[in-house]
């Protein structure tokens, strides 16, 4: 596999001058991250808001000068050849790409012209892209008249009009309804499968990273805290979660007995629920239920939950990803 993006020790610090007197304080937004993306991968860059995702992305896409470190993007050195980098990447920013009062087809063609592409070629390519993204009939419509999901797919078409080898999508599904999100994921997966485009996607949605990405980088407080396939990362949590529903007065006793039945299960009782960890929930369950029954403990219900990337994030950082997501 060949690397299409290689960043080494990339960092960004800001000096913030506080009001009044006092020396300016230095804020480390990104603290020396290493990123490798191989050609043909869909890589997820996952972290809460303010973790440094967008700052990192803006550095790699030449919008922001790094304070330190270097990167090679699609064969071009970020510091020495930013124009070369821009020529070979597509970037779809979180805030969108099109003027609401502009006509869809004109925005696509004008954007392509900025890459030096002939307007006729651009129009052909643009129509084909829109058709691929289920946007056949919007060529002459105003961008502002499209639905949120359509507008987002148009953004992706804008990012692909010059046929980049590597495309960056910043929080692509934020603000979309569940159906539009699923539809968007389908289209993002097709970018790789049908165009061979490498996709680097930032998100704070665990399910998005889980559904789409071959590999995930987790960033928190400006540092990469974990890296791996979704499966590898989930394995780090240590197993499945088993949740037992019991009468509240039996919860403490149930936890005690369960701890003796399954090693390292760390049962915790809370109200009418007992939660514990089992390496394999499916095989642990019969043993657990039989043991509890013979101890005379009545179980009202049982659930086995496979670990999600949310659990991974919680294990790695001690915080739930959801805590940080502002609505």
């Amino acid at each position: 596999m060949t690397a299409i993006l290689e960043a080494r020790n990339l960092s960004k610090t800001y000096k913030i001058r506080s009001r009044g007197k006092g020396a300016p304080t230095t804020v480390e937004a990104v603290k020396g991250v290493d990123i490798t993306v191989n050609a043909g991968e869909i890589v997820g860059f996952l972290g809460p808001n303010g973790a440094g995702k967008t700052t990192t992305l803006r550095m790699i896409t030449t919008l922001l000068d790094p304070t330190g470190g270097q990167a090679t993007v699609a064969g071009h050195d970020l510091a020495r050849d930013p124009i070369g980098v821009r020529r070979s990447i597509g970037y779809v920013a979180q805030m969108g790409t099109t003027d609401p009062s502009a006509i869809v087809g004109e925005e696509l063609v004008d954007h392509a012209r900025l890459y030096g592409i002939d307007p006729k070629v651009a129009a052909e390519r643009g129509r084909a892209l829109l058709a691929d993204l289920d946007l056949q009939d919007v060529w002459t419509r105003k961008c502002g008249s499209l639905s949120g999901g359509q507008r987002r797919r148009l953004d992706i078409a804008m990012g692909l009009i010059h046929e980049p080898k590597l495309v960056f999508l910043d929080e692509p599904s934020t603000g979309l309804d569940p159906q539009s999100r699923a539809n968007l994921w389908h289209h993002i997966a097709r970018l790789r499968d049908e165009y061979g485009t490498t996709v680097f996607i930032t998100t704070h949605y665990m399910d998005e990273a889980d559904a789409l990405c071959d590999r995930i980088l987790i960033i928190d407080h400006g540092e990469i805290v974990a890296e791996g396939t979704p499966e590898e990362l989930k394995r780090r949590v240590g197993g499945d979660q088993v949740i037992l529903s019991v009468a509240p007065e039996l919860a403490a006793r149930t936890a005690e007995v369960a701890a003796g039945l399954i090693a390292d299960s760390h049962p915790e009782a809370e109200g009418g629920e007992v939660r514990l960890i089992a390496a394999d929930g499916g095989t642990a369950l019969p043993k657990l239920l039989a043991g509890l029954a013979s101890a005379g403990l009545d179980i009202d219900g049982v659930a086995v939950r496979r670990p999600t990337l949310d659990d991974v994030f919680l294990t790695l950082t001690g915080r739930s990803l959801r805590d940080d997501v502002d609505a």
Binding site: L64, I83, R86, R87, Y91, G96, T97
Partner: protein
């Protein structure tokens, strides 16, 4: 030269969007015509009775209106840029290989074209109302509108890209433009002002530019007043474009 090609692309796109929203162009046009029709006649009486006025009312008032058009018409273009920035258009263009200066130049060129049309209509309307001045002076007057427009549009974009907020841009522009306009003798020549006010206005380049255009409207091309006005206009344009280009090229903008 890709910068010319890219500027042309940005220019044609911006012009298309302006034509599609003609309401602002119409308002921009209507304003100087309203001044001409509703305020011009007031000056006729003052001009006739006051020797400090400096001659025929139209020859004094139309150059002022032209400079005002260049200033006000262009100063508020930054608002459009903020909404473009908010919809992601600026970022999107900044990750293309197009030179960042062309993103500014294309937009400024659109504004200049709009001002040229507005300035020409103003001059024709003034001619219809009784303005008599050499044809070359009228040309220089319209040219001054275009050049000042390039300067103020460029500065307006630069400030807009820095503050990125309409709420910050509006008071900032009003705080700068209004005193500059009042101290330049747009409506009445500063020769009518008391000594101290004249001194203050001497520090305002716009005042000298208006004086220069007025001198030319009187048929006076070679005088130091006219030349001084031309030189100051060119200095402002170069300065404005330099500032604008710098801001557009800066990383955090």
């Amino acid at each position: 030269m890709t910068i010319i090609r890219d500027s042309w692309t940005v220019f044609t796109r911006a012009l298309r969007l302006s034509i599609r929203q003609p309401i602002w162009v119409v308002f921009g046009l209507l304003q100087p015509i309203l001044y001409l029709v509703l305020f011009g006649p007031l000056l006729k009486g003052i001009a006739a009775s006051n020797p400090n006025f400096g001659g025929d009312a139209w020859k004094v008032f139309v150059p002022g209106l032209l400079v005002q058009l260049g200033m006000f018409g262009a100063s508020f273009v930054g608002f459009g840029l903020i909404s473009e920035w908010r919809s992601g258009v600026i970022e999107r263009m900044r990750v293309t290989p197009a030179s960042r200066a062309s993103l500014l130049i294309g937009r400024v060129a659109r504004d200049v074209l709009v001002l040229l049309v507005q300035g020409s209509i103003l001059v024709f309307a003034a001619l219809a109302m009784g303005l008599r001045a050499p044809w070359w002076a009228l040309g220089v007057g319209i040219g001054t509108v275009a050049l000042l427009g390039a300067c103020f549009a460029s500065l307006s974009y630069a400030v807009a890209l820095k503050v990125k907020s309409e709420d910050a841009l509006a008071p900032l522009l009003n705080g700068i433009i209004l005193p500059v306009a009042l101290l330049s003798g747009i409506f009445l020549p500063m020769t009518l002002a008391p000594q101290w006010l004249q001194r203050v206005s001497d520090a305002n380049p716009l005042k000298h530019i208006i004086d220069g255009v007025r001198a030319m409207f009187r048929g006076d091309l070679g005088s130091s007043t006219s030349l001084w006005g031309i030189v100051l206009t060119l200095v402002l344009v170069v300065g404005g474009l330099l500032v604008g280009t710098r801001v557009f090229q800066r990383e955090s903008a």
